[in-house]
């Protein structure tokens, strides 16, 4: 209903101006392909890599790259390529779930606050402001100290840490939308709070919140990788890319491939997301309220 004629012609114009999939342009499309490739690896690698690739001592410790073992071996002589591919699911999937969770909860609270106003808005905003004044790594450290490092807890920790940021952006966007005439009309019409939140306000803040989700995903990837690097994230024998960097630090003196490969994997993922985010249409709207 809301997709009026001018909106459609505007998107057609931008599609004409920009090439690539979904009008993302060349860098954006490239980023999207990299993300999809890592997602595919994350989901498929466990069933696709043979168990033998994880044998300890199959290769010399920190063996250099060679045919069949393209990234050499890790500190226990395991095939590094298999380790990186298997690590993808801990980095990509865990971060994705946490980022989507943070974004969904933050947006939900923000819609509630913007549509309700009054004391509920004040209490929610004040509470979120408090949480946001704890720097994220510090927050992560106390959560880990208190609750431990199992994967579900890490997802929860990362999600909780980034809810206030998502809330802040979403509320700033939603407050502007909630003051528009058609929302006032819908309110006067007697629509429920739920309807106002989901059908009137949400569709109009969805595009910038998608951009925000992308940025939050990058933050979560970096945070979880850092935690793992400190030995306070995903615990062995499971290994995300941060853990892989940590456990292979000794390789720095032997050429460093086992350290550089997982670190580069993180960098390709975060930069790919940045490229896509830069190409998304909601980018300027998110920036405007920051």
């Amino acid at each position: 209903m809301n997709a009026s004629v001018p909106a459609r012609s505007a998107s057609a114009a931008s599609a004409r101006r920009r090439s690539g999939v979904f009008g993302l342009g060349v860098p954006g499309t490239l980023g999207l392909l990299v993300i999809l490739a890592w997602l595919l690896v994350a989901l498929a690698a466990p069933s696709w890599i043979s168990a033998g690739a994880q044998d300890i001592g199959g290769l010399p410790v920190f063996a250099p790259a060679q045919i069949g073992h393209w990234l050499g071996a890790d500190y226990l002589g395991r095939d590094m390529l298999a380790r990186v591919l298997l690590g993808a699911r801990y980095t990509v999937v865990v971060a994705l779930v946490a980022a989507v969770g943070a974004s969904a909860v933050g947006t939900g609270f923000a819609l509630l606050a913007a549509v309700s106003g009054g004391w509920l808005d004040t209490v929610l905003s004040r509470g979120m402001d408090t949480l946001i004044s704890i720097p994220s790594k510090l927050f992560a450290l106390i959560m880990v100290a208190a609750f431990g490092t199992s994967v579900p807890l890490l997802v929860t920790t990362a999600a909780v840490i980034y809810v206030p940021g998502a809330y802040r952006i979403a509320r700033a966007l939603a407050v502007n939308v909630a003051a528009l005439d058609y929302v006032v009309v819908a309110r006067t019409r007697g629509e429920s709070r739920w309807y106002l939140m989901l059908h009137e306000v949400l569709p109009n803040i969805a595009a910038p919140m998608l951009v925000d989700l992308g940025l939050r995903f990058v933050y979560v990837v970096l945070l979880l990788a850092s935690l793992s690097f400190l030995g306070l994230g995903v615990q062995p024998p499971a290994a995300d890319w941060g853990t892989l960097v940590r456990e292979n630090l000794g390789a720095l003196w032997e050429g460093g491939l086992a350290v550089v490969a997982p670190a580069l994997a993180i960098a390709t993922l975060t930069m790919a997301v940045n490229l896509v985010v830069d190409a998304l249409p909601g980018r300027d709207a998110r920036k405007a309220v920051r």
């Binding site: 959560m143 100290a145 208190a146 690097f229 960097v245 975060t270």
Partner: protein, 318 residues
């Protein structure tokens, strides 16, 4: 009371309230646990009787609000208790390490802040040019890789490949000047990369906003020379946002310090805290957290006040 002083006191009050609320959050996260400190201390083979006795001794059987007040009182009076692991007073452990961390942060700030301001200003002045694009792309790369990657690459390049520096730093080497330089170079280099990238981007955005404003166009048309245009016309209006950017970047400095102290074995508070987290030494973790949060809020407050002082509209009574 002058309106300016009132405004500043108001901000101070808000910062104190924020800190108080943060202390509630920190206390709730670390105190409302299925297993408590007494259980942690006694381990698996504790009998219910000894557990109950220790709980009473530690005050864990008291209601939650009372425990919070007791804990807060201890923090404020500088007596947050003893480490569960080493049994040393927490304040003593932190006191030994705090100067090291402050020194690291100070050296980083002295290098990073002027560098970031200079690069950010250059990028804003030549926005759209090759220098701007180079700096911007460099900053995007630096903020999208984890700090430990920068630190690792620094070790790989400077220690392993070139052999110029030791891979680990120990504060005991600080006695001689050359020793100090060697200890500090890599941690400071890594921190600077992270902080400069953030701060530069925000400085550029704040100054570019001003440089695009109509009054700058007007000044340019009047024939104000370029240097004066940037420093005398645009800069005073950008100081507030820039001070804010610097303060927000200290959040990244803090995150960076946690990583850098760990990877280089630097004997600072952040390393102490990371060790505390892995040993679940709650009194230590709580106190470190509150010290870091207080420091962060203090910097944000200072930035806020600088912003107020720099804004002529807020300086004069209406």
């Amino acid at each position: 009371m002058s309106p300016l002083l009132r405004l500043i006191l108001q901000r101070l009050g808000l910062a104190l309230i924020s800190l108080l609320l943060v202390s509630v959050v920190v206390f709730l996260i670390t105190a409302v646990l299925p297993g408590d400190a007494a259980q942690e201390l006694l381990g698996q083979d504790a009998t219910p009787e000894t557990l109950a006795a220790l709980r009473t001794q530690m005050g864990l059987d008291q209601p939650l609000p009372l425990r919070y007040l007791h804990w807060l009182g201890g923090l404020v009076t500088g007596n947050p208790g003893r480490s569960l692991v080493s049994d040393a007073p927490v304040m003593e452990l932190i006191g030994n390490r705090l100067p090291n961390s402050l020194l690291l942060a100070a050296v980083t700030a002295v290098i990073a802040v002027p560098l970031a301001l200079l690069l950010g200003t250059l990028a804003a002045v030549f926005r759209g040019g090759w220098l701007d694009r180079l700096l911007n792309n460099g900053a995007v790369v630096l903020v999208s890789v984890p700090e430990f990657l920068i630190a690792t690459l620094a070790v790989l390049l400077l220690s392993v490949k070139l052999g110029w520096l030791p891979a680990l730093s120990y504060a005991s080497d600080i006695d001689s000047l050359s020793g100090a330089a060697r200890v500090f170079v890599m941690p400071v280099l890594t921190l600077c990369c992270v902080v400069v990238a953030q701060m530069m981007r925000m400085t550029r955005a704040a100054l570019a906003d001003q440089l695009d404003a109509p009054y700058i166009e007007m000044a340019r048309l009047k024939g104000v020379p370029p240097l004066r245009l940037v420093l005398r016309e645009a800069m005073p209006n950008a100081i507030g946002p820039i001070a804010n950017a610097v303060a927000l970047s200290t959040s990244y400095l803090l995150g960076g310090v946690i990583i850098v102290e760990t990877i280089f074995h630097y004997p600072g508070v952040a390393k102490l805290m990371v060790d505390g987290v892995s040993q679940r030494d709650m009194p230590l973790v709580q106190t470190c957290t509150m010290i870091f949060c207080a420091g962060y809020l203090l910097l944000v407050l200072i930035a806020d006040v600088i912003g107020i002082l720099a804004n002529p509209r807020l300086r004069h009574a209406r």
